[in-house]
């Protein structure tokens, strides 16, 4: 049993790395998606809506398979880890776009009117009045998105990224102890998610007005 631990720790590190990179990519895609959905231009709104509904409307596993196995057919060559980060990042971005948009439209219209009537431009209103308030509102729901996404990293075992789930499966063959192997993986996932959750709560408290 002891000899599997180093492998699990390394796998946990890969899961953490995947989660961090996917979160960053998700936030970027989310911001782009949310901006597109709220654009003045119908074409951008359509593209934003299409992005959200395609990536939320299909299984993340299928998206990963298409990218990793189907990609080479259309000239996209990625190694398993790259495909995992990009695939999960785009997927998470679709959820995060809706979270961000929700927080932005939740800001009272009176705030926008007050900013516009003193002469601030649309951009200035967004930048100095709406976003600072919306960012605070979106911390917790984005935490929920990140939580779901960390758990979704388990899917990339299916494209042979050596993360927690893959590692657990890999040692079943040599140890004949699936119960223990999956339990170890589960506990490590929980630790990662617990720490993330605490970080989100801390951020949320810190950002709260007063």
């Amino acid at each position: 049993m002891q000899r599997v631990f180093p492998f699990f720790l390394e796998a946990a590190w890969i899961t953490v790395l995947l989660s961090v990179l996917t979160t960053i990519l998700g936030l970027i895609f989310g911001a782009i998606g949310a901006s597109a959905r709220m654009s003045r231009f119908a074409l951008f709104r359509f593209l934003g809506a299409a992005y959200v509904s395609v990536f939320r409307g299909t299984p993340a596993l299928i998206q990963l398979f298409i990218l990793y196995f189907g990609g080479p057919q259309i000239g996209i060559q990625l190694d398993a880890f790259q495909a995992a980060v990009i695939g999960l990042g785009i997927n998470a971005g679709a959820y995060m776009a809706e979270t961000m948009r929700g927080a932005i439209i939740a800001i009272d219209k009176g705030q926008i009117e007050a900013a516009r009537t003193v002469g601030l431009s649309r951009f200035q209103t967004m930048r100095y009045v709406v976003l600072p308030q919306a960012m605070r509102l979106m911390i917790r729901p984005l935490g929920v998105n990140i939580n779901a996404m960390i758990k979704a990293t388990a899917l990339v075992a299916a494209i042979s990224v050596v993360e927690l789930t893959y590692t657990a499966q890999r040692f079943i063959g040599s140890t004949y102890k699936p119960f223990e192997m999956f339990l170890i993986a589960g506990v490590l996932y929980m630790i990662i998610i617990y720490i993330t959750g605490q970080a989100v709560s801390w951020l949320d408290r810190k950002a709260r007005i007063n």
């Binding site: 009176g110 009117e113 007050a114 003193v118 431009s121 100095y128 308030q133 605070r136």
Partner: protein, 264 residues
Amino acid sequence: MKDEGDHMTDQKPFVDIRHAQKSYGTLEVLKDINLQVQKGQIVAIIGPSGSGKSTLLRAINDLDPLTGGEVWLEDKQINKNLPHRQYEKHINLVRQEIGMVFQHFNLFPHLTVRGNVTLAPKMLKGLSDVEANTLAEAQLDKVGMLERIDYYPSQLSGGQKQRVAIARALAMNPKVMLFDEATSALDPELVEEVNLVMKKLAEEHMTMIIVTHEMSFAESVCDRVLFMDQGVVVEEGPPEVMFRNPTSDRTKEFLRKHLAGQHP
């Protein structure tokens, strides 16, 4: 009416609303409204809810654009039909000259009182932090809120919030101030402190257009009162005539109901 015609030839109106018309689909909320306000004049708009008075006020800075008619401030037309970018540029400049105070204050909750007052001057007039601070202190002093300069809006009472909102508008040095039921959301005991600030502005000859339910305040401060109902100006005149001796039955009826409600 003749009297007013003479008046208009004497002096070009400062705020000039011509044939204002506004519809939402088939619902016409403003029907050919004309309103001329001279520089330094204080005009109150009264009327039942749904009469279109707020819509008319919000048309002045194009917050609720008209579907017909024109709004002018001095020699500039406000509600111009321009391509998006040009319109935005135009309206942002025009709005700097028109202060607005809302029923629900709409202070920025993430900024301190200081931040609320300095935001626009810093962004739009390029004031330095020091200059903006000096300006904020002067404006807040005027509304009696200087000692709360580092508070957040959530730490203020409604009356204090509204006074800060007035200071925020004044910080842009507007030519006209629009008040959209500025005291309607306040507890009765907090109304007076806001009224006092508005009276002070009146004494300084700020041009003001005030949508209000406070008849006694309108009577004591305004030069002219408009009574609106169902999208038209039913009657207008000096407050002593409007409140003591109105000619229209609708005005009489409104005042009777309203004053009865105010002093049971």
